[in-house]
């Protein structure tokens, strides 16, 4: 799985907006990669956005990573998913994650 992390510094606060651009299968085998990439990127994070434009599918392991990120950032930090395909959006719906994450 290809993971690209982009940082956009937020003005004046020293915090940053983090964007993770993912490509490939977000399944069991790639969950740990994303998890470790997240750990590096999440310090002093004002918002977290996953770009799912290149994601083929997301399995329950992938969902687990998103849930852990949301839990560790807390309710004050927005976690968003953008550019997800229809099936992935459906998975967010049927798993209840669309209530937790901002799926756009």
């Amino acid at each position: 799985m290809e993971i690209t992390t982009q940082f956009v510094p937020a003005e004046g606060s020293g915090a940053k907006d983090v964007v993770l651009v993912l490509r490939g299968r977000f399944g069991n085998n790639s969950a740990s990669e994303v998890e470790s990439a997240l750990k590096e990127a999440m310090g002093n994070c004002r918002s977290l956005t996953f770009d799912f434009g290149g994601v083929d599918y997301i399995s329950s392991a992938g969902l687990r990573v998103l849930l852990m990120a949301k839990k560790s950032l807390g309710a004050g930090v927005e976690v968003a998913v953008v550019n997800a395909n229809e099936v992935v959006k459906e998975i967010f719906d049927i798993s209840g994650f669309s209530k937790i994450l901002q799926v756009r």
Partner: protein
């Protein structure tokens, strides 16, 4: 019922009319007698009053006459005493007579017994008694006694003079010793006065109605006065026969015979020395009865006719019509329509009856429904048991690459007599059979279980196929009192050599399709049905199947299915369907599904017989493009995903649909494989192998995935589902995998057989 009711009503009304008439008649009679009795009482009182009045008048008139007689006697005596010379003066005497209104004045010389002077000149010098004595009236005792009573004051004679006049002669002595004065009064005048004063008055009041009257009776029992003149002077007993019996019954109404006429009378004694009898003829007493009876009987007749018809009509309207309506409803209920409600509410009794019937029917209905429900439950249970003894997962041995087998049975009723079976005999040898028990329903189902068990056991014994069939035939012939039998096609397939050996025991011909060929119905050696005749020999025959060959077996429920017009489905139609170009690449399951749908269209869902089909496909061991074998390692996931995606791509789908399906299927495969890796290998050091079988089924268009592993038994379909609605802080970081698989696929089944977990996922492609 109406006739019986009318008859009985007629009898009752008739009897009532008779009794009422009889009582009324009696009442009228009593009334008549009472009326007469009152009339008699009144008549008696009137008569007593009249008698009292006449008595008084008689007394008064007697006194008046006595006074006149005495006054006249005294006057004439005075005149003659003062003027003795008058005895020579006729004129003076005559003047005196006429002035006093006396009939005659005689001056007599008693010594010489001569008349000295008389106002009747002819009596001059005649003897004193020259008048003839007159007889006293026999019919007038009162007058007689009156005459007699006059003599108590003065000597009196009652005579007839020479003019035949009745005279009363009164005598009085004069002062001259040789002279006697005699005055004569006209007796007729006396009598008239007396009669007017007494008898007529009484007689007029003695009449009662037409035939009745009052008899006045003296103490000696002689009738002295009556309207009926003929009775006067007669004895009471002569007039009233049988009267003496009732003489004491004062005032009572008595039934007597009066001078031969049936009459009623009452006897009243009085204190005046005489008695009264009031009488009236019975015919007059009852004169009103006839009229009253006529009116009454006509009235009663009309009344009772009205009662009869009105009662009859009311009973019809109120009772019989209601009963008829209830009976009509009951007839419907009796005919089996328990939905019918008896709604007869014309009166409370019928309401109660209707409610009673309705609640009874309701109770019966609910009893029947509960019984039916119980029966249905039992039948459903029987169906479950029967179906559970048939292989129900297809392909039954998904990891066997050489042989795929599909089967399907549809009982015409809850349970059926058709069955199929498929099982492994040894490593390379499999048994396939299809059979049909004659009849269907419960009896067939019972024999089916026996036959299936017997065939299964016989084939597993390892004996030759024909011997197996012979022994099962003998077994089924024992005690087969119902003469039911089984047709069967029993085959074995050696997957290594492709040898397909079979015995056909009276069953439908098999259909065979060689690879690249067409379906054909193959004539095979016909054998006798099982359970028909004991000790038969059966022969087996065989084919050698090549990779890609298919066999289709069916029961006569398929070939003999009929449409609503009675046309049979037939083997030719079956063959034509199987040979459709679109079906060229159908697997066995798709063929069976297609034929089943065609059958349902043909029969419009009305299966008269059990329908069972078995489809078998033989592959070579080289035919491996739908199998992938990996070890249960996470890094093998990508291989599986690539394999499954390659299979999906062969389904010739639109790119967009393909992409969607890939995302869903890949998610499911990822999670399933992750599960197998994590759970199936828990705590075990052995190498767990996972066989993935992926294929596209064409009818219906589906992706079918099998995951077969030899890890620990683990049933993912039994996993508890996560709560997807809880807040993210509380959500556990697992448990979503199986949930996603269930949501993203259309069907998921799991079984554990022969040491392997077999999980099947089905995803519809359309």
């Amino acid at each position: 019922m109406r006739t019986i009711f009318r008859k009985k009503l007629l009898i009752i009304v008739g009897v009532a009319a008779f009794i009422v008439s009889w009582l009324s008649l009696d009442l009228v009679d009593r009334n008549c007698r009472l009326h007469v009795s009152k009339l008699f009482n009144e008549a008696c009182k009137d008569t007593l009053r009249a008698l009292a009045t006449s008595d008084k008048r008689a007394y008064d008139s007697r006194s008046t006459m006595m006074h006149k007689v005495l006054t006249s006697l005294e006057t004439v005596t005075e005149v003659v005493n003062y003027f003795p010379g008058i005895e020579h003066n006729y004129l003076a005497l005559e003047r005196l007579r006429s002035s006093l209104g006396i009939s005659r004045i005689d001056i007599l010389d008693p010594a010489r017994q001569r008349v000295v002077l008389s106002t009747d000149p002819n009596l001059q010098g005649k003897p004193i008694n020259c008048d003839l004595p007159a007889p006293l009236s026999q019919n007038d005792p009162d007058f007689n006694s009156f005459i007699s009573s006059m003599g108590s004051y003065h000597p009196v004679d009652y005579v007839l003079d020479r003019h035949q006049r009745e005279l009363l002669l009164f005598y009085n002595p004069l002062r001259q010793p040789d002279r006697l004065l005699r005055l004569a009064f006209n007796a007729q005048n006396f009598r008239m006065t007396y009669d007017v004063a007494t008898h007529e008055l009484v007689t007029s009041s003695l009449s009662l109605g037409e035939t009745g009257g009052v008899d006045v009776i003296q103490g000696n029992g002689v009738i002295v006065n009556s309207v009926d003149k003929e009775c006067i002077g007669a004895n009471i007993l002569e007039v009233y026969s049988d009267f003496q019996n009732h003489q004491e019954a004062k005032g009572l109404l008595l039934r007597v015979n009066r001078r031969g006429t049936p009459s009623y009378c009452s006897y009243y004694p009085t204190q005046y020395g005489y008695s009264l009898i009031c009488y009236m003829s019975a015919s007059e007493v009852y004169a009103t009865r006839r009229t009253v009876l006529q009116v009454m009987l006509i009235g009663y007749f009309l009344l009772f006719v009205a009662i009869f018809f009105s009662t009859s009509y009311l009973v019809k309207v109120v009772v019989l019509n209601g009963l008829e309506r209830i009976n009509a409803s009951l007839a419907k209920i009796e005919a089996g329509d328990l939905e019918v409600k008896v709604e007869e509410d014309s009166c409370p009794e019928f309401c109660a009856l209707s409610q009673g019937i309705n609640s009874t029917v309701q109770a019966l209905k609910s009893l029947m429904e509960s019984q039916l429900a119980h029966d249905a439950e039992q039948m459903a249970l029987a169906r479950t048991i029967q179906l559970s003894c048939l292989p129900k997962f297809f392909p039954t041995y998904p990891e066997v690459r050489e042989l795929d087998l599909y089967a399907r049975t549809t009982p015409a009723q809850e349970v059926g007599g058709d069955f199929y079976d498929y099982f492994r005999i040894s490593d390379n040898l499999y048994c396939v059979m299809i059979a049909d028990v004659s009849e269907h329903g419960i009896p067939a189902a019972l024999l089916m279980m026996t036959a299936k068990t017997a065939l299964h056991d016989a084939v597993l014994s390892g004996d030759t196929l024909e011997h197996c069939i012979e022994s099962v035939n003998s077994f089924l012939c024992e005690n087969n009192s119902t003469c039911m039998f089984v047709t069967a096609f029993v085959a074995t397939l050696n997957i290594a050599t492709g040898e397909f050996r079979f015995v056909n025991a009276g069953h439908c011909r098999p259909m065979l399709k060689r690879a690249q060929g067409q379906w054909e119905s193959v004539a095979v050696q016909p054998g006798m049905v099982l359970g028909g005749i004991d000790n038969l020999n059966y022969q087996s025959e065989g084919w050698i199947l090549k990779p890609g060959d298919q066999v289709f077996l069916y029961t006569d429920g398929v070939s003999e299915a009929s449409d609503p017009q009675g046309q049979m489905f037939g083997v030719a139609r079956l063959q034509a369907i199987l040979n459709r170009p679109s079906c060229a690449h159908y697997d066995g399951g798709s063929l069976i599904n297609l034929v089943q749908d065609e059958l349902e269209n043909f029969t419009q869902g009305d299966f008269q017989d059990d329908v069972t089909m078995v489809a078998l496909e033989y592959f070579s061991s080289l035919h491996a493009d739908k199998f992938l074998q990996v070890s249960a390692q996470p890094e093998e996931l990508d291989k599986i995903l690539d394999f499954v995606n390659a299979t999906l791509e062969r389904a010739q789908l639109e790119p967009k649909r393909l992409q969607e399906l890939r995302a869903a299927v890949d998610t499911a495969v990822d999670d399933i494989f992750t599960n197998i890796v994590s759970y199936a290998t828990t705590g075990s050091n052995r190498q767990v192998q996972v066989t993935v079988r992926a294929e596209i089924s064409l009818y219906p268009h589906q992706l079918i995935l099998h995951f077969i592993d030899n890890g620990h038994p683990y049933d993912p379909t039994a996993a508890t589902l996560p709560d997807i609605d809880c807040p993210f802080q509380d959500r556990p970081c697992g448990g979503l995998g199986i949930y996603l698989v269930k949501k993203l696929t259309d069907h998921m089944t799991y079984r554990y057989t022969e040491g392997r977990n077999i999980l099947c996922l089905v995803k519809n492609l359309e």
